[in-house]
């Protein structure tokens, strides 16, 4: 369980997170949704400690994460996997080396064991025959999937995904959503996913948090999201014409 309590953060005097409190539960895919620039990435990065929050508390189970020193944070971070919005694969390493990197750094596994684990993770995200390619030689969707493989290499307890399926075709996007939900259930991880894609919301949204201009406006599940009475959320949910028509025929 991850809990953020009353966190605040501003950049150059502009409030980006305003008194945000939110809880993410284990074994569930928790979604953070919101428009571009609403503060999703900043919230995710604040939770994992890449941005220093100005006030508030961040709890991982019963540990107050934001007050730990570097070594203490490192201990918890070993249990985290993160997929960045731009994949953030290491340019100088091949696909295989990228996924192996956390294993090299933090385990005493033999090369065979590591290779086996790497191939397992890559298979899990449907990447085959690309072990020796460099990130520059992969497509955007492949990069995302390799980055997911890297994020799950150490069997994390907490998985953070920043827009895992933006810029992907609908089929691959669904594949990735499915994958995230499966591994979350399989390993009982606490998963937090940033997205502005309503398809993913309806596909995997067990718990959904809607953030607008740094403020959490709404929380609920995918079953509740279509019938909320939050005006800004409705504008977001029913932004495309298909959804609008659906609602009309519903009424």
């Amino acid at each position: 369980m991850i809990k953020a309590q009353n966190i605040d953060l501003s950049f150059n005097g502009k409030k980006v997170l305003d008194n945000v409190s939110v809880t993410f539960e284990p074994g569930k895919t928790n979604l953070i949704i919101g428009r571009s620039g609403s503060g999703k990435t900043v919230l995710l990065k604040s939770i994992v400690g890449l941005h220093n929050i100005e006030s508030g508390e961040i709890w991982f189970e019963d540990i107050l994460f934001n007050k730990l020193d570097f070594a203490g944070k490192t201990e918890i971070r070993k249990k985290m996997g993160m997929l960045f919005q731009g994949s953030a694969l290491f340019d100088s390493l091949t696909t295989e080396q990228n996924v192996r990197f956390p294993l090299d750094m933090f385990t005493g596994m033999s090369l065979e064991e590591k290779t086996e684990r790497v191939n397992f993770c890559l298979n899990r995200v449907n990447i085959t025959n690309s072990n020796k390619l460099y990130p520059a030689e992969l497509s955007g969707g492949m990069k995302k999937r390799v980055a997911i493989a890297r994020a799950i290499a150490l069997n994390p307890k907490y998985l953070f995904c920043d827009e895992p399926n933006s810029g992907l075709d609908p089929l691959t996007a669904i594949l990735i959503d499915e994958l995230i939900r499966e591994i979350t259930e399989e390993y009982q991880m606490t998963t937090v996913v940033n997205t502005h894609d309503m398809n993913s919301v309806m596909e995997i949204g067990e718990k959904i948090v809607f953030i607008n201009e740094g403020i959490i406006c709404w929380e609920g599940s995918k079953n509740e999201i279509l019938n909320s009475d939050c005006k800004i959320l409705n504008d977001f949910v029913f932004a495309n014409s298909l959804a609008k028509q659906l609602r009309k025929s519903h009424e």
Binding site: K45, R77, F84, G86, F90, D104, F106
Partner: protein
């Protein structure tokens, strides 16, 4: 001024972060080896070419400026040797490396910053400053003295060849000259300077790259700053070290 002090403080904070205990020594060893090839070995070519011509010009200049029957011609060899060892090799090598290696380091680290690769390292619980910068510092501290030595040797050879081909000095006189009244400390002095310069180039450039904020434009600016700042600092420390070591 306040911005300058701020930068100065940030630079030393980064150094503090760099020199903390690495997680897995074997990985750092491998990184250092590959940085030696990347930052050091790949510069041997350019250093050789430049040193050769530098040596040639110094010899010819010395020859034309001492065209006087009272001076024995072997002094040309001696002058060539001393200017190369004392000044040109260490400083010119450093300035060239500031341009080549400095911009390289700053853009590499800067790109890693803006594409969130540094965040990814931090997320894994790796001290990104140590991981990225320490191997580069060690690699250049080991390799740059070697480059300076190469530069000295090639420079003197270049001087000898140019002097002989133009006929300003006979090979015998030149060889006599470069052996005459040789002071080994000058080599030590040159090496000490090189070590300082190597440290300046690597840390200043890494600093510029590490704190890039923004997009590819910023990476470009950071690598320009890396070259400019490290060159200026090299020239400044050249004066300071010369005063300290030779007086």
């Amino acid at each position: 001024m306040i911005r300058f002090l701020n930068q100065f403080g940030k630079y030393f904070l980064l150094l503090g972060k760099v020199f903390s205990k690495p997680e897995k020594t074997i990985i750092y060893y491998k990184q250092t080896m590959s940085e030696m090839v990347y930052l050091g070995f790949n510069s041997v070519g350019i250093i050789t070419i430049i040193s050769f011509f530098m040596g040639a010009v110094i010899t010819l200049q010395t020859a034309y400026n001492t065209e006087n029957p009272i001076y024995p011609t072997y002094l040309i060899g001696l002058g060539c040797r001393d200017s190369i060892i004392l000044e040109f090799s260490s400083t010119i090598t450093a300035l060239i490396l500031a341009g080549k290696v400095g911009s390289n380091i700053a853009s590499e680290i800067g790109t890693m910053r803006i594409t969130e690769q540094i965040d990814a390292l931090e997320m894994m619980g790796i001290n990104s400053a140590t991981y990225l910068i320490l191997p580069k510092i060690i690699a250049t501290l080991i390799f740059n003295p070697l480059l300076t030595l190469i530069s000295i040797i090639v420079g003197i050879v270049g001087g000898g060849i140019a002097g002989t081909l133009t006929g300003v000095i006979t090979p015998e006189d030149f060889i006599y000259g470069i052996q005459y009244a040789f002071i080994p400390y000058y080599i030590t002095y040159s090496m000490i300077k090189t070590l300082f310069f190597a440290f300046i180039i690597t840390t200043v450039s890494s600093f510029q790259g590490y704190y890039v904020n923004g997009g590819s434009l910023e990476v470009g600016r950071a690598s320009t700053r890396a070259v400019v700042y490290s060159s200026v600092l090299i020239l400044l420390f050249n004066v300071i070290l010369t005063q300290l070591l030779l007086s």
